[in-house]
């Protein structure tokens, strides 16, 4: 973590705050804290890239994995200059909302209250059998020149964390607590996926989906009630709350060669078709269904629950039997073909648009051992027979747009992926 340095924008915000304190409400540009950003709409030259955040892909914050895309996120106590930069936050198009490990957060953020007046808890569960348990708090989020104000985020607790109820068994039952740097391999997750909220309507109904909890004194591991939460109080995809550049994101990463790399640098660019640096260009729009799925077809079979997910670190598809690939001996759970093998898969959007995707898979054991310092690979794969899950290797050398549900873009309404 670095100390927060004051930018021009910060000084302007400070000026506004002072003006507000002094009662001088008519100062131009100080209509609200929310308008404090806005630099992104100026110029259009793109060189200042006030809508662009640097991504580094490497082994992660705990250097325990490969292909982990990370950014720095600035959070502030709402409406104040009390801010903090948190580095090494995973960029995830497969989730929505900002989640930060409590151990990384030093500024005082207020815990959100639920409709019963108790602290609002959340259990975020992931397909890999991990969970993140913690409180919902409110923070301003600054990403490059973009700002979202008073956003519900998750402050992730872990075993032994004090001041908040211990994880309920209905949350820990998903498997493994990922609420530490060593397990998460990041200081948090920045969910910039297809939706405005992390849960949506299923968490507004009674009984709600198993995500938000009434974390008052009665919440103990064996008995902690879920609670319905209105959409606006759920974790929010911060991009959808920006004043401009709020219809989605573009992830732009360089090509990675067949042997890999130590790390690569790229950009998380906000907005689709809103600036010169985020035009769709020749990208094809593949709309998703209401679940955020596209269809992949391979070898005559259809996989209608397929996803493009920057939070996945490989091509996850088929299984050992179907590919005839042996399992790796060292990099357990990955494919280890004797030679590099090409695949051509056809993706189909909900809008009927289709196109081929070509990629290669080589032995993770060979790749990892040939260059032990290499932590970025374009050609590693692992089994998952239920669908095609295009992880971060899919993004190398291929700009990928993720458009948010209900937001308009030059390519039509989200949700969609475009590449």
């Amino acid at each position: 973590m670095k100390a927060h340095t004051l930018s021009v924008r910060d000084l302007r915000t400070l000026g506004c705050a002072l003006a507000l304190v002094a009662g001088t409400f008519a100062l131009p540009g100080c209509s609200s804290v929310k308008g404090g950003g806005g630099a992104s709409s100026g110029g259009g030259g793109g060189s200042s890239a006030s809508n662009s955040l640097a991504i580094t892909v490497n082994a992660g914050a705990a250097t325990s994995k490969v292909n982990i895309p990370l950014v720095s996120v600035t959070i502030c106590v709402p409406g104040t200059m009390n801010c903090q930069i948190i580095q090494n936050v995973l960029v995830d198009t497969g989730s929505n909302g900002l989640r930060l490990l409590q151990t990384q957060v030093t500024i005082p953020l207020l815990t959100a209250l639920d409709t019963a007046g108790n602290p609002l808890g959340e259990c975020a569960m992931f397909a890999d059998g991990t969970f993140l348990w913690g409180s919902v708090a409110t923070a301003d989020i600054e990403l490059s020149g973009e700002k979202a104000s008073a956003v519900p985020i998750q402050i992730v607790r872990t075993t032994g964390s004090v001041g908040f109820p211990t994880v309920p068994t209905t949350c820990s039952g998903n498997g493994t607590d990922a609420g530490t740097v060593s397990v998460l391999d990041a200081n948090g997750i920045l969910g910039v996926g297809l939706f405005k909220q992390d849960c949506g309507v299923p968490c507004t109904v009674v009984p709600p989906a198993n995500a938000y909890y009434d974390a008052g004194a009665a919440c103990v591991p064996a008995s902690c009630s879920t609670i319905a939460v209105p959409l606006v109080n759920q974790l929010q995809n911060p991009v959808s709350l920006f004043t401009t550049d709020n219809n989605g994101v573009l992830i732009s990463l360089p090509t990675v060669g067949a042997t890999g790399a130590t790390s690569v640098s790229g950009s998380l660019i906000f907005g689709i078709g809103t600036q010169t640096n985020n035009a769709l260009g020749t990208a094809k729009v593949y709309t998703t269904d209401s679940f955020g799925y596209i269809t992949a077809t391979y070898n005559g079979f259809s996989y209608p629950q397929s996803v493009i997910d920057s939070g996945s670190n490989a091509y996850y598809f088929l299984d050992f039997a179907t590919t005839s690939f042996p399992q790796c001996m060292v990099v357990l759970g990955f494919y280890c073909p004797a030679s590099s093998t090409n695949f051509t898969v056809t993706n189909i959007g909900n809008n009927g648009i289709s196109g081929p995707v070509m990629f290669s898979i080589f032995s993770a054991d060979t790749l990892f051992s040939s260059n032990p310092n290499f932590k970025v690979f374009s050609n590693i794969g692992a089994p998952f027979s239920g669908a095609f899950d295009y992880g971060i290797p899919f993004f190398y050398g291929r700009p990928v747009f993720t458009a948010i549900n209900g937001q308009n873009t030059p390519g039509g309404m989200g949700p969609y992926f475009a590449y």
Binding site: A211, F291, G386, D389
Partner: protein, 147 residues
């Protein structure tokens, strides 16, 4: 399979207290439906029975029971993940160990430990997965019925 299911489905609504975890008997555990506060439908096919619970927030769990009354497969789809410790029952520790072993993976899960297989995927708001024990699948069926 989907078409057959919808065609043959015999709906039995109500608090039928027969629910189970993977590998256990149909009668041994009654907790799932209560735990999910769910509505139960059951359907019998040639060689197996499917119990489907629709629970809070639209979570759907299907459990596949063999003629001898053993749960040989479970399927889930929903906006969040199900309680895998409940669904996988005696296989949950194996699941946790196998998931920990594949330490370089970050993404959907595919766990195989002998006859026990778990596939868990999707993304936030739309999860989907299944688990089965190949040695418990009736001889006239394949894992493809578990869907």
């Amino acid at each position: 399979m989907r078409k057959i299911l919808s065609f043959l489905l015999v709906l039995v609504f109500g608090a039928v207290p027969s629910w189970a975890s993977l590998g256990l008997s149909e009668q041994s555990v009654h907790a799932d439906q209560q735990r999910m506060a769910g509505q139960l439908k059951s359907a019998t096919f040639n060689g197996f029975t499917v119990h489907e619970i629709t629970g809070a927030g639209g979570m759907v769990v299907r459990e596949y029971v063999s003629p001898v009354g053993t749960v040989f497969g479970v399927v889930w789809e929903g906006p969040t993940m199900p309680d895998l410790s409940q669904l996988l029952g005696p296989y949950f520790p194996k699941f946790q160990q196998a998931a920990a072993n594949v330490r370089y993976r970050r993404g959907p899960l595919y766990v195989q430990d002998g006859p026990f297989v778990v596939e868990s995927g999707g993304h936030m708001r739309a999860f989907r997965g299944r688990a089965y024990v190949t040695s418990l699948i009736p001889a006239n069926l394949t894992k493809d019925v578990i869907r």
